[in-house]
């Protein structure tokens, strides 16, 4: 979808979500407008690549809107704020910033880890959803069979990793340049990028990712999540990883 169409879809989705959500509960705070403020640093919030209700088979539109427009936006804003006084870092790509955390000025290391990680993770997250589930095929399916015990076992193990991450965090499938896959869980906004690795896909198990629809029932969310995985996008990420062009 071209960027302008995606942005249009985003606005339509946000409006529809608001209308649906309001009768349920009067929130203490009005939602911030979805329009992006001018970038005040090297990083910008990418628009969702689909409408807020595109993942309804697992994630409600209201959650998508808050998650993208408020949570993800905050990571981008805080990352830019952390880098504001460090213009020598502005040319670095996000994956390089995260791979070199130990070399950053100590005063911004935690902020870049948390907010840069948050920006990278959420950008990846939006990118691997918007699909209709099903299962992968071809080279990716062969890699899952080879490294993760087949598609069914992979899903069970991935859900297990997501469900047992205590507190905030993520479950990832990592991918090497050789195309090897592994399952990993990480706390908070940590990412395989911090070890110079790459995430093929990941699921967000911060409570904000699922609380409005699933409340305490995280396993129901991680099970339903497969309904919206976009295996075409994941296959593209897999090919890019092997070509050495996968970034965040």
């Amino acid at each position: 979808m071209p960027a302008t169409a995606a942005r249009r879809a985003l606005f339509l989705g946000a409006g529809a979500a608001l209308t649906l959500a309001l009768p349920r509960r009067v929130f203490a705070q009005a939602a911030a407008p979805a329009s992006a403020p001018p970038p005040s640093g090297p990083f910008t919030l990418p628009p969702l690549p689909y409408a807020n209700d595109a993942n309804e088979a697992a994630i409600d539109a209201r959650t998508m809107q808050i998650h993208h427009d408020l949570h993800h936006a905050a990571y981008v804003n805080n990352l830019n704020a952390a880098l504001r006084e460090h213009s020598q870092l502005h040319a670095l790509k996000l994956e390089d910033l995260l791979a070199k955390l130990g070399e950053l000025p100590e005063g911004i290391r935690a902020a870049v880890r948390n907010n840069g990680g948050g920006h990278a993770n959420h950008t990846m997250f939006w990118g691997v959803m918007g699909g209709r589930g099903g299962q992968p095929s071809g080279e990716l399916l062969a890699a899952i069979d080879r490294d993760l015990g087949g598609f069914d076992q992979f899903r069970t193990r991935f859900e297990q990793a997501a469900n047992t991450q205590f507190g905030s965090g993520w479950a990832f499938v990592t991918v090497t340049r050789e195309g090897r896959l592994a399952i990993q869980q990480k706390p908070n906004q940590d990412t395989p990028l911090m070890e110079g690795g790459r995430a093929l896909l990941g699921n967000d198990v911060w409570e904000h990712a699922y609380y409005l629809r699933y409340q305490n029932r995280r396993p129901e969310y991680t099970r339903a999540w497969w309904n919206v995985v976009n295996w075409d996008s994941v296959a593209q990420r897999y090919a890019a990883a092997k070509a050495g062009t996968l970034t965040i």
Binding site: A28, Q29, I66, L70, A110, G167, P187, E207, Y211, N216
Partner: protein, 212 residues
């Protein structure tokens, strides 16, 4: 013996007018806290916890570092929530603190306004899941601190909590969504029962009276 979920000291709709809705309390107490109790009871035998008090289990799990995490996650969260329910009340809030507590806060933390700011800051900056605390430090002074996930100042050895606020998203997401600072303001200004906090100060902290 086994651990048990203590009843809330008020009804689940008692705090609805003060920024914590009935659904939040039902889920938080009846589902989240209860799940920690159930999981902790499931660890008593395999981890050799029989006969130990909750406080001892938390302290020992904290000292064990990464190896202690499976126990600390559940035991810490059980202890943390027991305190959390106690320090809120339908008659909570306001800036009129009992004399002893007010004087101690003035002396050790520069006054109520400064304490609230420090406490809020601790809660806002606890990245991800965790807690913010007012504790009695080993030197007897009050101190504000924060801990991640299920840890607490007993497990870290920092001191004894007399006030704690849960900043896991489940504590505030239905009422405040992503706006954690507003949840913390609301907690400090409308929910804290300062009489309870003063009692805990005098007692030298909460005794959960729970053991495995």
């Amino acid at each position: 013996m086994a651990f048990s979920l203590p009843p809330l000291p008020y009804s689940t709709n008692a705090l609805a007018g003060q920024g914590m809705c009935q659904e939040t309390l039902e889920l938080h107490h009846g589902k989240h806290h209860n799940a920690y109790v159930v999981a902790l009871n499931g660890l008593i035998e395999s981890k050799g916890l029989q006969g130990k008090s909750l406080e001892t289990i938390v302290a020992e799990a904290g000292k064990a570092g990464a190896d202690g995490l499976p126990v600390l996650n559940q035991a810490g969260q059980h202890w943390n929530h027991i305190l959390f329910w106690q320090v809120m009340s339908p008659k909570g809030g306001g800036d009129k603190l009992p004399g002893g507590l007010a004087a101690k806060i003035d002396q050790d933390l520069g006054g109520l306004a400064q304490f609230k700011e420090a406490f809020k800051q601790a809660g806002v900056t606890q990245f991800g899941s965790g807690w913010a605390w007012l504790i009695i430090a080993p030197d007897g002074k009050l101190k504000v601190t924060k801990t991640p996930n299920g840890a607490n100042p007993i497990s870290t050895g920092e001191g004894t909590p007399i006030l704690g606020v849960d900043v896991w998203e489940h504590a505030y997401y239905l009422d405040f969504r992503n706006v954690r600072p507003n949840y913390l303001d609301n907690f400090l200004n409308k929910l804290v029962d300062w009489e309870v906090v003063e009692t805990l100060l005098k007692q030298g902290g909460l005794k959960s009276e729970q053991s495995a």
